[in-house]
Point group: C2
Chain length 64, copies 2
């Protein structure tokens, strides 16, 4: 499977923490990002995508 | 490998066209999005992410 793990950090910080594993869908919206895992778990958060590396299975997010 | 194919459509249109295959990295910036394939090919474009489905290997973009 090709899901990725989503990590997030606070604005200006350097360290990321795991937010949600096995992410399938990433849907940015007006006010934030909706993540959905392969198990159907959803997380909506006010953040932006810093970088995604699909080969490394990593989604790096940052709070506004 | 878990790369995805990036498709793009013009604002307000319904049909997507293939933009770049085998995308590894997706890096949104102030003025647009940088895509990089596993082969090192890069494309920078003024667009936003509509939706990504990693399990389906699809990145759907839309021009501003």
């Amino acid at each position: 499977m090709c899901e990725a793990d989503a990590y997030i950090r606070k604005k200006g910080e350097t360290d990321y923490v795991l937010l949600l594993s096995s992410v399938d869908k990433v849907i940015p919206g007006e006010t934030g990002i909706l993540l959905e895992s392969v198990f159907g778990e959803q997380k909506m958060l006010t953040a932006k995508i810093n970088e995604m590396s699909l080969v490394d299975h990593k989604i790096l997010l940052e709070h506004f």
